[in-house]
Amino acid sequence: MHKMLAAGVAVMALAAPMIAAAQDDAPTGGSMIVTYNDDVSTLDPAIGYDWQNWSIIKSIFDGLMDYEPGTTVLVPDLAESYELSDDGLTYTFHLRDGITFHNGRPLTSADIKYSIERAVNPDTLSPGQGFFWMIEGFDAAAAGEADGLSGIETPDDRTVVIRLSTPNATFLHVMALNFSFAVPREVVEELGPDFGRNPVGTGAFKLTEWSLGQHLILDRNENYHIPGVPKLDRIVFEVGQDPSVALLRMENGEVDILGDPIPSARFVEVMENPDYEGRIIEGGQLHTGYLTMNVQMAPFDDVRVRRAVNMAINKDRIVRIVNGRAVPANQPLPPAMPGYAEDYEGYPYDPEAAKALLAEAGYPDGFDTQLYAMNTDPNPRIAQAIQQDLAAVGIRAELLTLAQSTVIDAGGQPNTAPMIWSGGMGWIADFPDPSNFYGPILGCGGAVQGGWNWAWYCNEELDAKAAEADAMTDPARGEERIALWRDIYLQIMEDAPWAPIFNEQRFTFRSERIGGEDSYFVDPVHIPVNYDHVHALDAGQ
Amino acid sequence: MTPLLEVIGLERSFPTREGGRIRAVDGVDFTLSRGETLGVVGESGCGKSTLARLILQLVPPTAGQVLFEGEDLARLPAAALRRRRRDLQIVFQDPFASLDPRLRIESIIAEPLIIHGIGTREERRRTVATLLERVGLPPDAGRRYPHEFSGGQRQRVGIARAIALRPKLVIADEPVSALDVSIRAQILNLLADLKADLGLSYIFISHDLSVVEHVSDRVAVMYLGRFVELADAQTLYARPAHPYTRALISAIPQPDPSDRRARLVPPGEPPSPEHPPPGCRFHPRCPHARDVCREQTPALRRVEGGQGTHLAACHFAEEIAALPSPTG
């Protein structure tokens, strides 16, 4: 996994190869049923930001860039090719020919410009607005003072020129984010806020039916620009399906993909069932579950206390509580992320040493504090495990398990939440780049009222280093940049504002009739599966 | 000397569900002297029970005055009225409903004493014992609950409670209607004894004319919220001056098979008090009704040539009074 990703970064070339037409001889046709517990919310790419609608949107829309299926390798998508100016500030994208929206209208460069500007326009209320900060003219546009982004120009129908205000190595990832996906202006303007219910894009599938609270049907886009894609003719998303029921239906062969994770209650049993051999695919996730300690609140303002907490927690036992569906973590970055320090050992589990550290910090008898956590399973259980471990070294943490919105609010208030278990609200990377784990959650920018830096950790020196790293847009300096990020995260661990607990693993359960590369089923950017590339084995029969 | 009780133009109306108003008591005047018993008779719904509650200020009057020893009860402040209640008491019809089923008899009888803060606990206990004896109940009755007693005994409890404060006036609202014949006589005798012993005055409300005749000095006949006749008992029964009184008297079956009086049963039933007929309210059922009865409401007036103060609300009172006596 790690290796694959390193290769991907290297591929960031001026003339990237086209995504090859699917060369495998997987059959096309057929359909599959995917179940979800929650209703699917908006499919507007500028707005949708759930893990659930994230990949559905990816199948309906396209952006300038994309990733190779099953990998984190950036490749041009709507763009045929792009060039980067020497100062690292100007990107020129050349659109592929003959791409049309689902309504039949050909895609032009104006659509790209409109789509990005729409995401930045405050009227859109896009949660992705902030991702575009590096584009020239962002501030004026984001404040609603300018009509559009001065940094985007469309010299002709097939060329988009984007100027940045500062060189940024993550920019191409941003162009692969849903928020920058192309939408047809006339449809958006006609439907207004209802566009998310009736999405029209250029993607591999088009939405044909949406019965709120019951099901969605996606059908193949016959005019999709990549030949042989998608494989399936139809995907039916059945919503309101309780995961344990969905699992039983899966066992009855009524369902093809469990959209939600396998319920913990039955995880062990399912994994041990020989009948499902090969049908449950395990993969990594760009996720870290961590415990924040508010460095502005005593006693967590003492680094020794924070280190003691890091040493007090038995991560192996917590991993067991989640049925081994995670690997213990010792640093903010997940193993699949470039910059992960493989040789770093982290803080060992050592309650005695933790006690000694606490004593040294002036808390020989420990102290009382509070631990916030979200109230959905398994988070209260994990929090209780942490609570017990802390109690063993004398830290008596009162546990507050609350609704998501309340915990998030508490985290963003100064001097409110001494400790927060991030589960359920934790960081899943928006794109596979180490910088994505820093800004809002560990940088000074996030350590403000209403911010997401719940540790209130602010290290100016590291902020400067981060800026430096992100300015390294030259692909040749890729390795150097990654190394810089690695150092940043290791230095953070010295200050220990977090106690990283684990990195979640994904387990995708598929029916016997669905096939494809294993990597398609644990695709790092498409969750739960890469809808465009999995196929039905009984297609055409 | 002021009379014990003076009722002037007393009125009370209730709203109905349909938005109309029922004039339950519609202009009643009378006086009651000390030591006197006034009987009030009438059929159900004529307003006699409301009259009792109006006098006691349990229901506020819509108009009119209730002067007790010259003091207008309706104008008394709440606290003063509560104190005044010592002098006015009531005995209810239903000896079960009027006793709190969750209290022991001794608590029920002692309640007025407690309310008015009379005596110590020990004194009250002795008073209760005396009262029990006075109304003819065994001494151990105090420890028991109302439902353990028969109707007659419960009525004795009600009477004991009413006389506990030595009131000046007792209003008895159908006190014997719910009782059996043999018990009824006992209670009537008890009431008579108490009156003699304690110098009580009574307003005795009943639908039973023979009982009223037996206990009353004067009798008032009520029909649809008004007094239609008021006279001393003997006169009223011997020479009724209102056709309704006549009809009532003649309708009473006497326990005497040889009694073959002609029965003057009035046809139909009392009209709804919500829509009383115009003119004389009795005219639709009156065998003597003439045109004037349908148009003019007769006032309660002295009957010419009547004995004492014989009042009747009939245009032809003198004519009626001259008819042969219904009691035969």
Partner: protein, 279 residues
């Protein structure tokens, strides 16, 4: 009391309640394990809870804690919440209902309109919002439940009080010059006791469950303190793979609620002096 003992179902109920109280009180001595301790041997290697039997009579929960010990300590919470908060609800409801029913007038109307309003208000939402505003604690649960559950009591008491206030013996007391306070205290409230008792007992099951829901939402009992409700909710999705985690506390709640209901029913009959007089 003798009358209650006459009903075999009520006796069974009393036994269950008595046993629960006993277990709750003696929990520190009876519990085989520390109810908070997440035992290493309490989970399988894959992290699954252990079924009943062996060292763990009721099995273990998903954190490897002994279920029996947690049930014993949980009885405390459930009893306290059931009795205290439901009792408070009944008291509030009775007070408001009795005032509205006795006083009538604008005050009575205002109280009853407010009751109507509360009746139509989704209780769960109110509970969540209140707890979020005031901040979570065990006593908040009690308060929230009381605030939610008084409504029906108030309505019933209101109806009864209006009927009681028209009884002849109340009129008799007024005729005697009794003050309103005395009338309410002596002639009305005692008659409401059976209703109150019935609601106090009938409401217990709803209360215990509401506590469970609130605890689940993170409003109530702080983990790792157990209550029967939060034991269920912590593990409700395990009903097929670890049914004991749902059914043992579920049946406990059912039995306790049932017992309170049966005893309440018998109590109502027994409190009626028209029954008592029959010797």
């Amino acid at each position: 009391m003798r009358l209650i003992l006459r009903s075999p179902t009520a006796v069974a109920g009393l036994i269950v309640i008595g046993a629960t109280i006993l277990v709750a009180v003696l929990a520190p001595w009876l519990a085989p394990y520390d109810y908070r301790e997440q035992l290493f041997e309490g989970l399988t290697l894959e992290g699954a809870p252990l079924p009943p039997g062996g060292d763990f009579v009721f099995g273990t929960d998903t954190l490897g804690r002994d279920l029996l010990s947690r049930m014993m300590y949980g009885a405390r919470t459930s009893l306290i919440v059931g009795v205290v908060s439901n009792g408070a609800a009944v008291l509030i409801g009775t007070l408001l209902g009795a005032i509205a029913g006795y006083v009538r007038g604008w005050l009575g109307t205002a109280i009853m309109r407010f009751t109507d309003l509360m009746m139509a208000f989704p209780a769960l939402l109110l509970a969540i919002a209140l707890a979020a505003i005031i901040g979570p604690s065990f006593w908040i649960v009690a308060l929230v439940i009381a605030l939610v559950n008084w409504v029906q009591v108030a309505r019933v008491v209101y109806t009864e009080t209006t009927a009681l206030a028209e009884r002849e013996y109340v009129e008799a007391a007024r005729a005697l010059g009794a003050h309103h306070l005395r009338i309410v205290g002596v002639h009305i409230l005692p008659h409401l006791v059976p209703t109150m008792l019935v609601w106090a007992t009938l409401g217990i099951s709803t209360t215990v469950l509401l506590e469970a829901t609130l605890s689940f939402l993170g409003i109530g009992v702080r983990p790792p303190e157990p209550s029967w409700g939060n034991i269920i909710f912590e593990s409700q999705s395990y009903f097929t793979s670890a049914p004991w985690l749902v059914f043992i506390p579920g049946v406990a709640i059912l039995l306790l609620a049932l017992s309170f209901n049966l005893v309440g029913d018998a109590l109502r009959d027994a409190l009626d002096p028209t029954q008592r007089g029959r010797r």
